[in-house]
Symmetry: none
């Protein structure tokens, strides 16, 4: 059971618009058990559309096409579909009425462009669209289903949800595909793969493992495929249990949650509060924490101490410590974390001081070096990391390392 997604639009090819339709369609079809064979993005051009349709014929069960159905002159999909399927455009009364009503609701007169949108290929089944003026179309040809939809994301989603997904679900009783996304932090991909090589080779044949790294976080995706979703689900449960036994300290979520979201959940459960004192991360940690709805319940605030005077005056870092050890040092992050925790009266605090780059490195403290401290009533712990040369990436990785340390301290509390 295979599907092919074809995206029509020059704006996609020249990178002016990022195609999010194919990801959405892919995820929905995947849930139905379809193997997405390919996604192909092509020019808004008669020859290219004809070629793509020809190439797609007979390769998969379903071909989903989006784009090229607007009222303006650069849209030529509909006549090209007629040419390909050997049919002609005829006025569809139901669609014409829907468009007329929609225009009058919005207070616009019905013009010629709108009327033309009610013309549909004679051989297709019309998929009505209550969210816009372009209907979807369903063709069947030589054993392949072709579905054409507008490229505007919410119109495409309406037609998919209203017509396409229920119909495909009815027609194709199929193999299930289940995923489990285990989030880890603490080992790089190559090292994690080494630790998990035995686990991977002893997976049952219907479960596959993939590594998806991003800014130091590695998502382990377990995918199970088969006919009985109960077997798949319990098979995945069992493998997740084994993973926990092998790397208990690396896993922070088994449901694709971000670190800042996990931390938020923990703090709400435990009724604890946090604050941050950031130098090199410049507010990034606070920004990540406050991206979570409801974070005002546990996050009190931060001091971003870019300048050393802020470290001494607001956070109480001593001049002596700064001059003896330098701003990027274990001693300074300890004083920062303890200083802000006292000032903001929170249960936990986290602090960072490092060199994001591109300049400012020394042989002993190269660009990419960071010191992190997490303070609580019980203790203050620290760690030092050295990442790469890119400023933006370093700020991100410093912040994620700090959140990971914070999460562990919250749990160990």
């Amino acid at each position: 059971m295979k599907a092919h997604i074809i995206i029509i639009g020059d704006e996609i090819l020249i990178g002016q618009t990022i195609d999010t339709n194919s990801a959405w369609i892919g995820a929905e079809l995947n849930k139905l058990g379809f193997d997405i064979w390919r996604i192909t993005s092509i020019h808004d051009n008669r020859i290219e559309i004809l070629n793509a349709l020809k190439e797609a014929s007979g390769k998969t069960d379903v071909v989903l096409v989006t784009g090229g159905l607007g009222p303006t002159s650069d849209d030529i999909t509909k006549p090209t579909l007629c040419e390909f399927f050997g049919t002609r455009l005829i006025l569809n009364a139901e669609v014409h009425l829907m468009i007329k009503e929609m225009m009058s609701r919005r207070g616009f007169p019905m013009n010629e462009n709108n009327s033309r949108q009610a013309d549909v290929p004679e051989s297709c089944r019309v998929l009505t669209n209550a969210t816009g003026t372009a209907p979807g179309m369903w063709f069947e040809n030589d054993g392949t289903i072709f579905i054409s939809m507008p490229g505007v994301p919410y119109e495409m989603k309406y037609i998919m949800n209203q017509h396409v997904i229920p119909e495909l679900n009815k027609r194709f009783t199929t193999q299930s595909i289940l995923h489990r996304n285990i989030m880890t932090y603490g080992e790089p991909e190559a090292r994690l793969a080494e630790i998990l090589s035995g686990f991977e080779s002893s997976l049952p044949s219907f479960i596959k493992l993939a590594y998806l790294p991003s800014s130091g976080v590695i998502k382990l995706r377990l995918t199970a495929a088969g006919n009985d979703s109960n077997i798949l689900s319990s098979g995945l449960d069992e493998q997740v249990k084994i993973l926990y036994a092998i790397i208990p300290n690396l896993i922070f979520s088994e449901w694709e949650e971000s670190l800042e979201s996990v931390i938020g959940r923990l703090l709400i459960e435990m009724k604890k509060s946090i604050c941050t004192a950031e130098s090199c991360t410049g507010g990034r940690i606070a920004n990540m924490i406050t991206s979570i709805p409801g974070s005002s319940l546990y996050f009190k605030g931060s001091v971003i101490a870019y300048n050393n005077s802020v470290k001494t005056e607001l956070l109480g870092v001593s001049d002596g410590t700064l001059s003896r050890y330098g701003a990027v040092s274990e001693q300074v992050v300890i004083e920062m974390a303890e200083g802000i925790r006292q000032k903001f009266k929170t249960d936990f605090s986290v602090s960072t001081s490092g060199i994001s780059g591109p300049d400012g490195g020394t042989p002993l403290k190269p660009v990419g070096t960071v010191w992190i401290a997490v303070a609580s009533e019980k203790e203050t712990i620290t760690s030092r990391h050295v990442f790469g040369n890119s400023r933006i990436i370093n700020i991100d990785r410093f912040s994620i390392a700090a959140l990971s340390m914070l999460r562990r301290q919250i749990i160990n509390h």
Copy 2:
């Protein structure tokens, strides 16, 4: 002059990851004058990769492939490339050394997986990668150039910028395409298009205008195409001059610079300093400011006052003001901006207080409401905006509105 982009990765097909690489590559190649013929996303699977490479051969001048180059076992691109090009993997000493140095800097031992990443197909030219362990590869076969790069966006971008774009630029002398990206803030797209309708219709035939909106910033892209780049360039200069005459107050850069970068440049030129006091933006403004290299020259720090106690104790906002007007009010942002400017002893300060959502709105202060103040020695100015319902988008739009106000105050000083 045509190009084809092939994206390898199951995570793209099942919609777990939105493919942003192809849009970035498409935009860059388009600038060089390439017609992007197709973007094809395929499975991480030997047969599918071989088929896609075979189909792509001879169709375009350049085929750019991303993905499938990680150290783990789900990555099989490299052996498949060897099979397709009839070559074998050999250890590349330079790459091996780069990986070793990178691992030792990060404090990790070099394991077998890392070593394997230094194996490259014998017949390719290696494109070194200073941002990760997987190098890029350049093949030439039957008149088609094939370029394979890692799928991690910043690694792909590094290899494109460092190797691929300069080389393609040298090899393909072509019709010139020049772009000028004029950055504006202050009017929504539909209104800006109305203001510029006369400008657009009187553009010379070789110049086109496009609107690219993002978080309130609208990039006006002028594209000139033709054989003589001098004519194109002076034609663009002339149109930019006309634009400045029509919308002098909306333009903040004509070189695709971000607001935070423009602000940094201005502050360095004028030897002035800033700080921020953020409530609803939660550190996002500081994060944007400190993303700019060298920002420590003008940015002293911030107080993120999520909790009202931080507003009173650290910023000196009076309890009376808070209880009389509420935290989201003109009076509070004025006291925040003036309080932090005094405390941090900077020339300028900016403050925000608002309701990011999804909860916390009232009929008088709905979700999406923000008050912003900018303080300087001369005066304190304020503004109020109401944006949408999405928390993440609101935080972004609040921050950009604040930076825009800050920029105008710096200029008017």
